[in-house]
């Protein structure tokens, strides 16, 4: 679960980190009044609270010189989708003069299977570019997950960035706070970019936290506190899918895709692509799906307008062919066969599944190549 910038900053502030003074505004708010109440003096920064990467480059962050300009820009940003998603709120923040912009993050190094601190003196711009062009400028430090990030390790990172004196202490203490958030919130990523240098101290101008979805049961307070709903992260159809519990990702093409298992579903997309088609989505029914779930998934794609045809690719291991077939037949019965549906079915209870589908007038392929050619020819 990705947290919004303002949520991440609230979490930092609750742990004693100084963040720029700001106010959160919602659609319909009297923006000028809110700015005055918060005692914010221009220049200000108006920031679209969306959860897509590259928000700044996409025009979601604007510097304004007056309250009037802030009001005008806020109206504009509320109506401006960033990479397809509209913000549920805007963060209006005091623009802070600063001497330098650093980068600091804690994430998990999958290969080392340890937490890793990443830091750079060149924050603020696209850190991925920096990582490619000047890999030596990225400082990495692995952390023993049973010991946590100790103070001297945090200072070692700061020293490697060339910091000294009080700024070194401020940076190290900030890193330790990031780590404590990383650990306490089961985060996949805790990041500040840019992390400004203001005199002897660091000040996070932006902050990102991604909490491990699998650990959310331990962090109900995050969900309970959320003031901005799904908006800001998902498209309209993705929101619908999440509401009925389907792991669905919207894409740009026209071929609806259903598979079982993330790997096979991705492979199915790749197959469509390599035969000249373009997938409209990713939809994985997982392992051991029952008829009910299959019905829901197929029904959803029958409704999903971007998909003008559906390609369903199932290789049953713990997923049973008969359950899959029953689900497909029920979905078609309920929604009607509004668009072409090609099914490829193999694995456990393949024959029974095939029979159920054929009885309902749906042909089930064995060979996926044959099936993909068919679906693209329609």
């Amino acid at each position: 679960m990705k947290l919004f910038e303002f949520e991440a900053k609230e979490i930092l502030a609750a742990r004693g980190v100084k963040v720029p003074p700001s106010v959160l505004v919602f659609p319909g708010d009297d923006v000028a009044a809110k700015i005055r109440e918060a005692g914010l003096e221009p220049p200000l920064v108006v920031k679209s609270q969306v959860l897509v990467a590259g928000r700044g480059k996409a025009g979601g962050i604007k510097l304004v010189k007056s309250v009037e300009e802030a009001v005008r820009v806020a109206e504009e940003l509320f109506r401006k989708p960033i990479k397809g998603v509209l913000p549920g709120a805007l963060l209006i923040e005091k623009a802070v003069e600063h001497e330098a912009e650093l980068y600091a993050a804690i994430t998990i190094d999958r290969s080392e299977r340890k937490p890793v601190v990443l830091a750079s003196r060149f924050g603020g711009v696209d850190i991925e570019e920096i990582a490619k062009e000047k890999p030596e400028s990225i400082v990495r430090l692995h952390v023993d997950p049973f010991l946590g990030l100790r103070g001297f390790e945090a200072r070692r990172v700061g020293k490697a960035l060339g910091l000294s004196g009080k700024l070194l202490i401020s940076f190290a203490s900030f890193l330790q706070t990031l780590y404590s958030i990383f650990e306490e919130l089961d985060a996949d990523l805790v990041e500040s970019n840019p992390l400004a240098v203001v005199g002897d101290e660091v000040l996070p101008l932006d902050a990102r936290i991604i909490v491990d979805d699998n650990a959310l049961f331990r962090h109900k307070e995050i969900i309970e506190k959320r003031r901005v709903e799904q908006a800001g992260e998902y498209t309209e159809w993705e929101v619908k899918a999440r509401q009925i519990g389907l792991p669905f990702v919207e894409l740009d093409g026209n071929v609806g895709i259903i598979g079982n298992g993330a790997g096979l579903t991705m492979a199915t997309m790749d197959l469509v692509y390599s035969f000249g088609g373009k997938p409209a989505n990713f939809l994985d029914i997982g392992g051991g799906a029952r008829a009910e779930l299959v019905k829901k998934a197929v029904g959803f794609l029958l409704d999903f307008p971007k998909a003008d045809r559906i390609f369903m690719n199932i290789f049953g291991g713990i997923t049973r062919g008969d359950e899959v077939a029953k689900g497909v037949v029920e979905a078609v019965k309920e929604k009607g066969l509004k668009k072409p549906l090609v099914v490829r079915l193999r694995g456990t209870r393949e024959e029974e599944g095939r029979r159920i589908l054929e009885e309902a007038g749906i042909h089930a392929y064995t060979d996926p190549i044959e099936a993909v050619k068919k679906v693209l020819s329609l």
């Binding site: 079982n260 997309m269 392992g287």
Partner: protein, 292 residues
């Protein structure tokens, strides 16, 4: 010999009284796997498919000192504890089927296992099978045929798909390992490859990768260093997945610019590993490699 698993496996099923645990115990027994005990805390004294159930792994091992392997079906919230229990009881191979374990928990128990010398497969994996010898996992056993090809995979269903294709074309398998789809897994590609390299019964290897992470790049690096010398064919899922989008599980997030399809393909091809366009091209490419 085969990799990690053969007829000598004596298996404890942790979470044996649950729906999945009980069902797959039956299937493992039918396949011929020697399941010697089950564990469900608070249900000690009962039986599942003729297998005695204990309150703790410690007790199970005391009663069945020949036990050397564990498979875990315990729900995500309790699975890390089950892993520690298996490690502390001295079991040397622990297969974690459970899906949805917080990655911080996995990170910790995987580090702990390493220190203690236990091999973890998974979590969120189909398990391991040495066809005709033993199966410690949830894969449909009949799909796999005995032979000389090793398969190591980050994806469950793709493993079945590709192993079935291989079998149909006479390319049976020595050992098939589904290492699991989570961001952190106990056994990585390179660690598995070390074992396949040493295994006289494996002639060639199929690597089934995915976008995200850098396990495929590290596999290529290992081949470049000459530490893996057998023929390899790879397939990588997710070529058309857009960057930054979640593809169903965290194993497929692309982060920090690393782990793209192109990066993985380039790395593997640069060390002479052909990368199949689709899963269905794997058997053909493998035959070509074996002919060389």
């Amino acid at each position: 010999m085969v990799v990690l698993l053969d007829e000598s496996a004596r298996v404890i099923v942790q979470g044996i009284t649950g729906r999945e645990g009980s069902f797959h115990t039956k299937l493992m027994l039918e396949y011929g796997t020697k399941v010697v005990a089950g564990v469900t805390p608070g249900k000690g004294g009962s039986e599942v498919h003729g297998v005695p159930v204990y309150d703790s792994v410690e007790e199970a091992v005391r009663k069945h000192p020949e036990a050397n392997t564990s498979i875990i079906f315990v729900p995500a919230r309790f699975a890390p504890d089950a892993v520690y229990e298996a490690i502390d009881a001295g079991l040397k191979l622990v297969v974690v089927i459970t899906e949805g374990i917080p990655v911080h928990d996995t990170m910790k128990f995987v580090n702990y296992a390493k220190k203690k010398g236990t091999v973890i497969i998974g979590p969120n994996c189909p398990g391991i099978i040495s066809p005709g010898k033993a199966k410690v996992g949830i894969m449909p056993g009949h799909i796999f045929k005995p032979g000389k090809i090793g398969v190591v995979s980050r994806s469950g269903t793709l493993t079945y798909e590709i192993s079935a294709l291989l079998g149909e074309q006479g390319l049976g398998q020595s050992t098939v390992i589904g290492i699991g789809g989570d961001p952190i897994v106990g056994l990585t590609f390179t660690e598995a490859m070390k074992l396949y390299e040493e295994d006289p019964d494996t002639e060639a290897l199929v690597l089934i990768g995915e976008i995200g992470g850098d396990m495929e790049e590290r596999a290529a690096e290992m081949i470049r260093r000459g530490e893996f010398t057998k023929p390899v064919v790879a397939y990588i899922a997710g070529r058309t997945a857009p960057p930054g989008k979640r593809m169903g599980h965290a194993g497929a997030i692309i982060m920090m610019g690393a782990g793209t399809y192109e990066s993985k393909r380039k790395a593997l091809e640069s060390v002479g590993v052909p990368v199949a366009e689709t899963p269905f091209d794997v058997p053909r490419l493998l035959r070509e490699q074996l002919r060389k």
